[in-house]
Amino acid sequence: MHEVSVAQALLDKVIEECLNSGYKSVRSVKVDIGRASGVVSDALFFAYNALKSDTIAGESSLIINEIDIAARCDDCQKEFTTQEKYVYECPFCSSWRFTILKGKELNLIEIEVD
């Protein structure tokens, strides 16, 4: 359950950002979660909602935007994307050597505050 640590880090950032901007409560939180980030969206959602109670983000909704994996093959140089959570080989040439371009994101994008 390392989603709990990620959710706590997210909540800490959201609350700090809200208070630093002079607002009193958080209405919604948008995050980008890459499919290859090692974080499962359902578990992050569950952990965030459990941790937020009794904070200024207690009524906030978490909006998760999942980012597909995009990679470039180191051998045939072709780029490819997948909705899988893990890539083993290039779909064009079956090489195991490739560079991940997208899909590792664990980013806070936007918060809506009152």
Binding site: M1, H2, V4, S5, V6, A9, L10, D12, K13, E17, C18, S21, Y23, V31, G38, Y86, Y88, W96, R97, L106, N107, L108, I109, E110, I111, E112, V113, D114
Partner: protein
């Protein structure tokens, strides 16, 4: 009111990890994050390694477990500094825990720190703590299918020890497949086949460690 933030959720951990790394580098301390599933042999490997190296290299150990002090007591019996971290349920160590732990050591008198992570093949690979390298143990009793089932840890580890090879005659395990799959996932990984029980193969790992920690002192 909407506020665009756009920052990494785990940047607090990353920041502390970079500070840890700077402290380790300043004092030329080589730091290894040792990971494996529970029972693969992390603590036994440390016992054997420390026994062989403690007269030539000054070593300290950070032990991470959900609960208990058994591992720290085993290391303490070897007469070297050890700090036990109990995560109380968290499945991995993070940079803040390591910062609090290494402050217990005198870095000016330390050459090598082992961080024994919580036994788990999943999360520990995701959290950088400021270590120089990640190393992992796979014991052959876990089966030859593990590299492809838990790829992240095998990809992120510079050194991979295949342990308990003394049990090979009793198991239907394909060690060649383990090595082939590791090489596919991580072509530059250094692999050692060892038995912490009999000592077979450990010399290669010990020599590798000596070279790595010495090169950081120069």
């Amino acid at each position: 009111m909407k506020i665009q933030v756009v920052s990494k959720i785990l940047d607090a951990n990353e920041r502390i990890a970079v500070e840890n790394k700077e402290a380790f580098d300043r004092h030329h301390v080589f730091v290894i994050n040792l990971m494996s599933s529970p029972g693969a042999g992390k603590t036994t490997l440390l016992e054997k390694t420390i026994s062989q190296l403690k007269d030539s290299i000054s070593i300290a150990v950070i032990e991470g477990d959900i609960a208990g002090v058994d591992d720290a007591m085993r290391i303490e019996a070897l007469g070297i500094p050890v700090v036990q971290i109990n995560t109380g349920g968290y499945c991995h160590l993070d940079a803040g825990m390591i910062r609090d732990a290494f402050n217990e050591f005198d870095l000016t008198k330390t050459d090598l720190i082992f961080i024994e992570n919580v036994g788990n093949l999943v999360c520990p690979a995701e959290f950088y703590m400021g270590e120089d390298i990640k190393a992992m143990i796979l014991s052959i009793t876990e089966g030859h299918d593990k590299p492809l089932k838990y790829p992240t840890m095998f990809q992120n580890s510079s050194v991979i020890l295949i342990n308990k090879i003394d049990l090979k005659p009793h198991l239907d395990v394909d060690i060649d497949k383990i090595k082939t799959d590791i090489k596919k996932l991580n072509p530059s990984a250094v692999i050692f086949e060892v038995s912490c029980k009999t000592g077979e193969g450990l010399q290669g790992w010990i020599d590798w460690l000596k070279t790595a920690s010495t090169s950081k002192r120069l």
